[in-house]
Amino acid sequence: MSSVKKVTLKSSDGEIFEVEETVAMESQTIKGLIEDDCADNAIPLPNVTGHILSLVIQYCKEHTSSSDSNSSKSNEKLKAWDTQFINVDLNVLFDLIMAANYLNVKGLLDLTCQTVADMIKEKTPEQIRAMFNIVNDFTPEEEEEVRRENAWAFEISLKNNNVVDTFEVEESMAKELQTIKNMIEDNYTDSVIPLHNVTSDILELVIEDCKKHVEAAESESEPSYSLASKLIDDPLKA
């Protein structure tokens, strides 16, 4: 029967923690100190408060016992524990990041960074600023430039550029629209009639409307014309 070796850790605010050596060695920083034989007395950790240190120790305890071959903890259970563990307020989360970095606890650093990344995902710049209390320190010119450079990321408005929808309609129907009637009578045969100011969805509604107003064409060989709508370039106009 072997006695479990322990080390003593002292937080910045003077709290003392007695921890099993194997658990403490989850921190590469502490591991280094132990191996260099500097750990006979309490190890002072001036950059970590007692509250945060207790959390870090909790994490290390949980993750040490799982690498023990006798432990039956599955990966899934560990993940669930992590998810619950990291459900803390933003201040604590950042303190944990700093502590994990200082103490060099890789798993905890990865977990905390991923959690912050998940908070940033799918948010707008405004939402990110609000969430993390970040000041918008761009000048108007700088902001415009950075938005322009990264315009592709603000996807929705750009997606519809350059997409052209064509609609084939019977001549009699197309003539319901006076503008188009004039174009046809000016002999725009065989080509696509471009309508720069009309979007696809509006054009669809107009065509539906015309259909209702026109009697069905007698002959099948009635020439049909293609009307092309070009979606409006400027993403700010609805």
Partner: protein, 443 residues
């Protein structure tokens, strides 16, 4: 608590867990985040992961000043398409080009630079069609193959560089190229006029053989399915679908992320087959081409008898199939490859340094019912002499079949030595059964 005060290293770690899109948005938050999110090491990772790029090169092949500018150029060039589909198409062409550069560089050299959006729209205008989304992106990345008829007499090398490849038997030879978009448009107009198809047909001829034997592939722009013309193409416009219908979806829907049309599926399948060796390059008369005869089991059978190895497989030949003729509904060509192992021909322990084919016994079945049982001299009029360790003797023939499933098997009678100087009694060499099967993907 301060995201901006965590230090550059940690900030970099956090940002590397984001998608490129989120990283770009984060850059718009503040000066500090802009600086961190613009670090090129981050964007070199994104370019590598999403675009398989190790150098910052834009879609036109020009170098960009940074990986971030590179990624931006790609997103902007393709902003009219769903990005996951763009990445998928790029990967598909990447696989094909990679295989070609390693195995068939002379064919890789025929691939043309991608077309622009304007050129696609112009082609759509001329043909009054709307190309399926995946096909549009395929053309953006690569505009088919350039075909230059060889000027040197007798050499058919130029016409055997088709990316899709082909086969030959008797006088029938096909080798399928992917057509550049403008060629596709011209061919489509010509064929529509020739066959008399109504201009309501929303087809585009996307691939064809430049040989005397004709083979045409039509993309149905409305449904997204690919079809190949049968023997009745000119008279009836008869075609066979080339890709399992159930896999085709959302070909015109730019809002989904499951778009796949027959062109994309077909090329992905072709890349798979090239990569895993199901089909290989064939060299004949000093010229190389992609052969569509399967090289691997279960479609290719192998048998070894007394040192004589026979490999056999078949390929479906749609361009001479006749769906209206019960007996010739499906046509297959088969390739038989025979060789003699280095140890020579060994019969009951006695080695012989050569052997020669005398007769064949050939059984063709349709759905397990014997269609033909032939016992005759030679193969395609030849009596191949096999010497130890030499290249395979290959011959091709063809057979019609009334059903979509059948098989071929048989045996050859060989004599040790030579026919004019036999060194022993004739012996039977097995040709293991190989299937005749209408494939799910038709090339």
């Amino acid at each position: 608590m301060d995201l901006e005060a965590v230090g550059d290293l940690i900030l970099h770690t956090i940002l590397s867990n984001l998608t490129p899109k989120d990283a770009a948005i984060a850059a718009c938050v503040s000066n500090k985040l802009k600086s961190s999110a613009s670090e090129d090491i981050l964007w070199s990772k994104f370019c590598s992961q999403e675009l398989d790029l190790n150098e910052p090169i834009d879609p036109l092949g020009n170098p960009t000043p940074s990986f971030k500018a590179c990624y931006q150029a790609w997103r902007e060039a393709f902003n009219m398409y769903p990005w996951p589909l763009v990445m998928r198409v790029k990967r598909c062409w990447g696989r094909l080009k990679n295989w070609l550069s390693i195995n068939f560089p002379e064919a890789e050299a025929t691939l043309c630079k991608g077309v622009s959006e304007v050129e696609i729209q112009e082609s759509e205008r001329i043909l009054k069609v709307k190309l399926p989304l995946p096909t549009r992106i395929l053309y953006r990345f690569c505009d088919g193959q350039e075909f230059k008829p060889e000027r040197s007499s007798g050499s058919a090398g130029g016409s055997l560089l088709g990316l899709i490849g082909g086969y030959s038997f008797y006088t029938h030879l096909v080798n399928v190229f992917l057509l550049p978009l403008n060629e596709a448009v011209l061919n489509t107009k010509a064929i529509i006029r020739q066959i008399g198809l109504s201009s309501r047909f929303k087809y585009l001829v996307v691939a064809a053989s430049y040989t005397e034997s004709e083979k045409f592939f039509f993309l149905n722009c409305t449904t997204g399915q690919l079809h190949v013309g049968t023997v009745n193409l000119a008279t009836e416009g008869e075609m066979i679908p080339c890709v399992p219908n159930a896999l085709i979806s959302s070909v015109h829907d730019s809002n989904g992320d499951q778009q796949q049309d027959a062109m994309l599926l077909w090329l992905e399948e072709h890349a798979r087959r090239l990569e895993n060796g199901t089909i290989k390059l064939r060299e004949k008369g000093g010229t190389r081409s992609i052969s569509l005869f399967p090289e691997e089991p279960p479609l290719c059978s192998t048998a070894l008898t007394n040192g004589v190895k026979v490999r056999a497989s078949a390929v479906f030949v749609p361009e001479i199939a006749d769906l209206q003729n019960e007996r010739r509904k499906y046509t297959f060509s088969y390739s038989i490859r025979m060789s003699l192992l280095r140890e020579g021909c060994v019969i009951n322990g006695i080695p012989f340094s050569s052997c020669q084919l005398q007769r064949r016994h050939w059984i063709i079945c349709a759905n397990d019912r014997v269609e033909s049982d032939v016992n005759d001299e030679a193969v395609i009029g030849q009596y191949p002499l096999l010497l130890p360790g030499e290249k395979e003797f290959v011959y091709e023939s063809c057979t019609p079949l009334p059903t979509s499933l059948g098989s071929v098997e048989g045996s050859f009678t060989f004599v040790p030595g030579r026919l004019v100087d036999p060194k022993g009694a004739p012996f039977e060499v097995e040709v293991a059964r190989f299937p005749l099967q209408l494939p799910d993907y038709i090339f």
